[in-house]
Symmetry: D2
Subunit: 348 residues, 4 copies
Amino acid sequence: MMIRAGIIGATGYVGSDLVRILYHHPEVELKLLTSKNHKNQSYNSVYSNFNKICEMICDEDDLDSAINQLDIIFLSLPHGVTSSILTDKILKNVKVIDLSADFRLKSVDEYVEWYNIKHSNANLLKKAVYGLSEWKREQIKNSKLVANPGCYPTCALLCLLPLIKEGILEEEHIIIDAKSGVSGAGRSLNLGTHFSESNESTKAYNVLSHRHTPEIDQELSEVNGNEISVIFTPHLIPMNRGILCTCYGILKKSYNYEDIKKIYEDNYENEFFIRLMKKNDLPETRWVKGSNYCDIGFSLDEKANRIIIVGAIDNLVKGGAGQAVQNMNLMFDLEENIGLKSIPMFPV
Amino acid sequence: MMIRAGIIGATGYVGSDLVRILYHHPEVELKLLTSKNHKNQSYNSVYSNFNKICEMICDEDDLDSAINQLDIIFLSLPHGVTSSILTDKILKNVKVIDLSADFRLKSVDEYVEWYNIKHSNANLLKKAVYGLSEWKREQIKNSKLVANPGCYPTCALLCLLPLIKEGILEEEHIIIDAKSGVSGAGRSLNLGTHFSESNESTKAYNVLSHRHTPEIDQELSEVNGNEISVIFTPHLIPMNRGILCTCYGILKKSYNYEDIKKIYEDNYENEFFIRLMKKNDLPETRWVKGSNYCDIGFSLDEKANRIIIVGAIDNLVKGGAGQAVQNMNLMFDLEENIGLKSIPMFPV
Amino acid sequence: MMIRAGIIGATGYVGSDLVRILYHHPEVELKLLTSKNHKNQSYNSVYSNFNKICEMICDEDDLDSAINQLDIIFLSLPHGVTSSILTDKILKNVKVIDLSADFRLKSVDEYVEWYNIKHSNANLLKKAVYGLSEWKREQIKNSKLVANPGCYPTCALLCLLPLIKEGILEEEHIIIDAKSGVSGAGRSLNLGTHFSESNESTKAYNVLSHRHTPEIDQELSEVNGNEISVIFTPHLIPMNRGILCTCYGILKKSYNYEDIKKIYEDNYENEFFIRLMKKNDLPETRWVKGSNYCDIGFSLDEKANRIIIVGAIDNLVKGGAGQAVQNMNLMFDLEENIGLKSIPMFPV
Amino acid sequence: MMIRAGIIGATGYVGSDLVRILYHHPEVELKLLTSKNHKNQSYNSVYSNFNKICEMICDEDDLDSAINQLDIIFLSLPHGVTSSILTDKILKNVKVIDLSADFRLKSVDEYVEWYNIKHSNANLLKKAVYGLSEWKREQIKNSKLVANPGCYPTCALLCLLPLIKEGILEEEHIIIDAKSGVSGAGRSLNLGTHFSESNESTKAYNVLSHRHTPEIDQELSEVNGNEISVIFTPHLIPMNRGILCTCYGILKKSYNYEDIKKIYEDNYENEFFIRLMKKNDLPETRWVKGSNYCDIGFSLDEKANRIIIVGAIDNLVKGGAGQAVQNMNLMFDLEENIGLKSIPMFPV
């Protein structure tokens, strides 16, 4: 029997990639697309790439009627909205993957501090699993509520967690300099993402204050045992898709290339979606576009005990819709990569 | 004595290029910048490229107080607004260069048909000169009200007028396929000019209905004598600046390369801002960016009596602010190229 | 039993998209990739998007050994090379889809005139079918040698053929103003496709002399009955993928929107890969990227009997690798869209 | 009397910006352009933006005949070439600004280590001044040989030197994550700068091995007194112009915003070409394009004693041709900003 899926908030960029991926997923039947701004419009009138493919009519964001006809709901709503509409009753009826930040942080206080909104459903936090598929596989399988990670944290955590788990990095000296394509800012209009303002320019933004920071800290700290606070600096790059994370660490003692390589292989050798680069190769965003892969490579300064880890993902796929489907696969006990095997497209 | 200039509506892209050009114009003192949306803000807070350069405070759009302290006003306002605020009294006190479409069309009916707004000041139309500098030089010199041409018409007319004047093109078969960078759409937010929507894509828009069409028709017809209706198709190109016009014509009889070349040279040899390409070379937008040049070249199919004329301009300079300053120079009897000699920047 | 496929010249952009598409084709086993420049290198070392996906070693371009182990060969070699190596013997053993221009033109003289090389295998021309799938379906099914169309002709012909077949356009007045992304120029280094030279600029190139012209003329003429010579002007657009064709025609008599719409529907209603736009909508390249679709729309000036038809394709898919696979499907009597159903990716 | 200037190696991107800037410099007469690859071609045939502007013929790279007719020579040659042709005799006759790396490093050993070529003229190193205008002004004024800084070091050093001089940063923890437009890679063809390979993608390159590293170390160490080794990671960004440096430092003790601001103001308040951002504002490359400005801003984590300094320059102007002209102005005792006042162009 097919998994009956619905997407609440289907007309953002992540929602649109969810439709694209789920539409051809062999185990999924897409039953419901909702949209606040495009209610009663056909999906292809909102995204013409779906002409003759998906011409479903966008519904209202009505969860109550949805839960009876669905097995899983993807929530792709603004921060604060998800937590205000999600209930125990819903979770009793359907599995939920939330793509907002509402259930990522375990601490309500941190949520309030960083998002500056009250959390309307703090009691559900305990039920939520942070959906970094490769690191929370078992919990995800048994969860009804998965908090899909942010795009930046996905890339940064996949790069750092092996070394952090091993405890070989000085915890107080971790810097993540991240670069993202403009689609990460979403489809809402904004002067900063107006073509002539963002094209042909680069900038850092939300320096020392980006909301993905506590998410990264939380997950690194959990795996490491010590409290970790990273420096995280996102940058906007004039391209549509892609995130590149350049992570800087100091090694507690001397390691050679093979030592580090082994740590990554021990963690990722059998991971379908993680591709470790060959020696001297580093990831570039062009090689992962349109796919759920995360490419990881590193460079070592053995004399200075410095390491630079570079990761690349497609921000809308592994950093959003793709990882959500990967999590769905886990929750329904399917092959983890089903529906997600598309080869990165190049050039694109 | 310096020319005291004011820009009404200084915070659009054309307004901003006006500030950039006038700021270093040796005969101009920039006295007034107004902005509806950025009233009381410093100009550099709106455009940070002007930090430490132009930190003037944006005023209200108050023409009345402006006219006493100024010699010339550049009006860079939305269509319909200019005509509603311009008066004979203003024109008695200052010269005006209007960058909107309000005074470009001689026929009020055409204006109403294409712009779908009533014209509030039809009586002033007779006083207005269509400011295509190279073709209306004498009238501009003697005018108090110049209607600065649209960006597309500037490029298309400079390409076509020599042949149209000569009467060698079949009047009913003129096609202009134009390509413009996104800055031509202005700074107002719009889904179509959102980065991820316009980057990496091309489209035709306003096909058979773009408002620059009657402007082109009017000027071609005037010079030719016959009523000319062109087919004009604008396209959006994922780049910031530049317009390329590919103009298709049918020659009434056989001409060779030298014949056509001579016609262009006769018209443009002494024009500072027009650069005729060498045989086999055609314009590209990259060679004119940041400058007031219009590059023109052509290709001839002698057997078929077909000609393709290609022109390139910077849409914000020769297609906007630059030509406006060129017209100001004419109106004040200055060297036509003063303040406008900057070399196209490449690569940029 | 799986179709055993080989790609001769697999490391160009079209070759790379062939690998991408064939790799997941459910009826195909990719047995051979060859490359002159990357002989003995693994495919993923040439295109890192294939890391952990396709790590085949690139072979020499040795057709003779290939024909015994393969059912179909895709030839993606430079013009002139294909015709020099293809033999009757090869065609006896395997089916061939040639992506060069060597077998597109029926007339050897035209080939010599436009490509300026001798044709080494003119006798094979009669066996070759011009592989415009939607228009040559039956011949392709029965052919052993398909000449895959050029990228521009694919788009232009799909736009024009319905009207040309109907005979409603003035044959001597057809103009195709085409815009292509830079990937169309291939992976060979060239100053014109160096990033800083082509980024942020637009130009026409090979005006009145582009080699895709005779291909368009040949196919239009064949369907129409009259000799047709189009004006075809390609432009380079600063984007990776996509072709937009803006086609200008004059209608022999008056038609209304519904008349024209019906002609397109009669021809394309049941075509999987052709999407006719709704009234007032026109294609944009962003909506077809990564897919085998061709979007077609038109605008009508009823008073002037003018029509503008706009088409959009992904130049590497429908304009290359995708159509080649579509043709392979036809040649092997498979569902025509098998392996080709991927949804256009947006934004990308 | 005009300064007679020559550019040896005038057809690279930096050379081309030198021509652009010097051409309108009121005190300079451009007497000589040389080019190895474009010998005997007119300059505008190499760069069509100079049509009707600079149509000088490119000479051979013959320094001997040049020195008698010139007052200053700009050497824009590949690393290793400059040092092999520069002689004491030349320096007796003309002033020299070298834009290669040959005279930047004081230590011949370091030069050999990083550039992997023998230095043919080590004795001249003592005479060379590192031409970071704002920091070496007095030495530049008295020098006959200026080694113009690399593009990355210019931006990084201007950001870091005030804090390094003050000694408030932990010397062993300085990280520079830099992002550059593709023009920085020059005009030579290379797969990595082919349009479809670099467009829409981001990557780190030359990680832990970029040749600009020792230059940064040398200058920081000299001003600080301690030996400093930075981590410097350059990235390629899909845009033509611009460098953004995101510099990470650890403060030795607690400082507040005003403390740091004062340090920058003490150093830069009177510097024409340095623009300190307002609190909470950080530089973006779009605001400096086409100009010689360097914009600097910073963000402070007071609790963690962390600072992030961001700088932006136009890589070809302040990072190349502009700073070279600034140095020339100093060497000839002119106003430092003469010929360099052009306002950053936006959008471009």
